[in-house]
Amino acid sequence: MSGTRLSLAKGLNAGLRKAMDKDPKVVLMGEDVGKLGGVFRITEGLQKDFGDHRVIDTPLAESGIVGTAVGLALRGYRPVVEIQFDGFVYPAFDQIVSQVAKMHARSLGHLKMPMVIRIPCGGGIGAVEHHSESNEAYFAHTAGLRVVSCSNAADAYWMIQQAIETDDPVVFFEPKRRYHERGETEIDEGGSPDLGLYDARVAKEGSDLTLLCYGPMVKTCLQAAAAAQEEGRNLEVIDLRSLSPLDLPTITSSVKKTGRAVIVHEAQTFVSLGAEIAARVQEECFYHLEAPVLRVGGYNIPYPPSRFEEEYLPTLDRVLDAVDRSFAH
């Protein structure tokens, strides 16, 4: 099956299937993940092929889903939990922060939490309230968790398998508006991943300015870089992939090279991943910077009704506007 072009959703599905094939302890849990295949069809066909003991339709209670996944993990299982939408994870926040994140440390290393919490994230699909949020910073702020975000089908395919294989709990953000776009990356299912789970990817090399982004914004930034190229600016685009830990060596070596950095994410900018990255970059790259580190993100208001979202979310033009402001220095 070498060289298949899949959508990001199909890449995840194939990755989950492969992980379940490899390890009988991998179980999927969530609302509607069975016959329906999840509301985004990420688990489509898996219950049919693996049985309802491995693809578990749970009661509609997020704390219950994550809390029972903790118990399954303590029993030796590797639960992969689907949270139906970003805005529905909060009932499980207590279990994630108080138990999942702390279990390994509070047990002096005796216990492990090999759990993946999948969260379809971000806006851009015209959804109703609570269906478009980018809440990754809450989890990146929580020690004990690892937080990653895929931006394309090939990464989705490999990263979900890598996340399942790690013994640490991983919060896995999936850009829902990219789920069903036509796949642009080839996946060699017989091959192996070209990067570790916590490595950033230089998605496009450049010399003049570094765009730092992840998840749904990677495509937007690649488009912005292509547009800037026409104006004679050679932008480098870094897909962070891992939000905790951050791949600081890749980030700082790029910014030291270009001297300019713009961080782009859908989440609100205040106390965001962008804030953390800006702090780290100024600390590590102070004498290389030609301009202040800038951020482009959601405005610092609750996610607005969807008729506003085109203006609320960072767009190609807003990214280019920030690039212009950087070069104005």
Binding site: V27, H53, T58, P59, A61, S63, G64, V66, G67, T68, A69, V70, G71, L72, A73, L74, R75, G76, Y77, P91, D94, Q95, S98, Q99, K102, H104, A105, R106, S107, L108, G109, H110, L111, K112, A143, G144, R146, T166, D167, D168, S244, P245, L246, L248
Partner: protein
């Protein structure tokens, strides 16, 4: 629900609404006038011995469990008595060590020994227990060294035992979180096929501990839902000790916990939590059912928190001494001893030997607590992740360099 059921609930509410007003002029207060004590003369409560340890007549309520009690050997009885005495003594040591500054906090189990030992001795080695933070008696029955309980209250760790050694999970401080862990673990037992095989060495169950306050939590209620729909082999053991810090039962529920189980789809049993025999028998029966694949049970062990919530609490602010006096008469150790004397299960030498052993255990754990070393500082960064994490490693290095800097300065001075 029939009209008579409704009337019954209304009657319960009416009694609970008669809140107890403490007053210095009052003498001992009849149980029926005390807030929340609606179960005291509840005919649905399983009991086997009276306040002096005399075997109560077998009746409709305790009959299903009577054989378990009658099958108990002298050795079984002596085991339970010894546990009761030792855990009370261990608990008293914890309290004293806090007062002497050796521990930062101690949540006392005083009064709840029978409920915990009954439940703890009903568990088999392959079963798993998920405690809150007051389950020192269950910990003892599982074989956890009391000294390792002290670690978290002394501040040297957040849980100093390997929970898989004794199938006793770490204490859980966020109320109710562990109920879901227990159900998930039980789902794992079922998925592993370790339920309903008929093999007593293989079939396993889980016991989840919380209190009356815990029954208000979302996680508790979600746990009951998940357990019911998955038929997980879980026994929910609610120690209703009447007080969630300062809040009595009527601030937590209108329908008592054991009656709520039916609404989730499985049986609830009310047991006298100060009756060691009843607590053991009811717990054993529920665990046997869970292991055999008959699903969950909720046990409400009706008991009383004789001490403060923790060493930081002051119960004189919210409850009367008279109430505490009443519960002294229901003391679990007195009842167990009376039962054993009535049945000839032990001679005076046995009781004396247990008291002497309690002195020895107390001396040992006191010394071990006082000698418990502070952790080596860099270990603060240990075990945060299972694989190296660059931020943690960088901060560990910074921390070491920072402290090394002081050492160098000291050397030059």
């Amino acid at each position: 629900m029939s009209d008579s059921d409704v009337a019954g609930h209304a009657g319960t509410r009416g009694r609970m609404a008669g809140a107890f007003e403490p007053s210095p002029e009052m003498g001992p207060t009849p149980p029926s006038q005390i807030s929340g004590h609606f179960s005291d003369d509840n005919p649905e409560m399983v009991q086997f011995v009276d306040a002096d340890g005399n075997r109560l007549a077998t009746n409709e309520t305790n009959a299903p469990y009577a054989q378990i009690v009658e099958d108990m050997t002298s050795e079984d009885a002596r085991t339970i008595y010894r546990d009761l005495v030792l855990v009370r003594r261990i608990d008293a040591e914890g309290f004293a060590l806090q007062r002497q500054g050796e521990l930062g906090l101690w949540p006392s189990l005083f009064g709840q020994e029978a409920a915990q030992v009954g439940a703890g001795r009903a568990l088999r080695a392959q079963d798993y227990a998920f405690p809150g933070y007051r389950e020192h008696g269950v910990a003892w029955c599982r074989g956890v060294d009391p000294v390792s309980l002290f670690g978290m209250f002394r501040g040297v760790n957040h849980g100093g035992w390997d929970s898989n050694e004794n199938n006793f999970h770490l204490y859980t401080i966020v109320i109710g979180n562990q109920m879901l862990h227990a159900v998930g673990y039980g789902m794992g037992i079922a998925a592993d096929g370790d339920m309903g095989t008929g093999d007593p060495e293989r079939d396993a169950a889980v016991m989840a501990f919380t209190g009356d306050g815990g029954t208000s939590q979302g996680d508790f209620n979600e746990a009951l839902v998940f357990a019911a729909v998955t038929n997980a082999p879980v026994v929910f053991f609610v120690q209703n000790n009447q007080w969630a810090i300062s809040e009595p039962n009527d601030k937590q529920f209108i329908i008592p916990p054991y009656q709520r189980a039916r609404g989730f789809g499985f049986p609830g049993v009310l047991v006298d939590g100060n009756d060691p025999l009843a607590s053991y028998a009811v717990a054993k029966d529920a665990l046997d059912k869970a292991r055999s694949g008959q699903g969950p049970t909720l046990i409400e062990a009706y008991t009383y928190r004789m001490g403060a919530h923790t060493t930081s609490d002051d119960p004189t602010k919210y409850r009367s001494d008279a109430e505490v006096e009443i519960w002294k008469h229901k003391d679990p150790i007195k009842r167990m001893r009376g039962f054993m004397q009535e049945r000839g299960h032990a001679d005076p030498e046995f009781f004396a030997a247990v008291d002497a052993e309690a002195d020895e255990v107390a001396a040992r754990i006191r010394k071990a607590c006082q000698e418990m070393p502070d952790p080596e500082l860099p270990t603060m960064f240990d075990n945060q992740y299972t694989e190296p994490h660059p931020l943690v490693e960088a901060e560990r290095e910074e921390f070491l360099a920072y402290h090394a800097g002081f050492a160098e300065e000291g050397g030059q001075a």
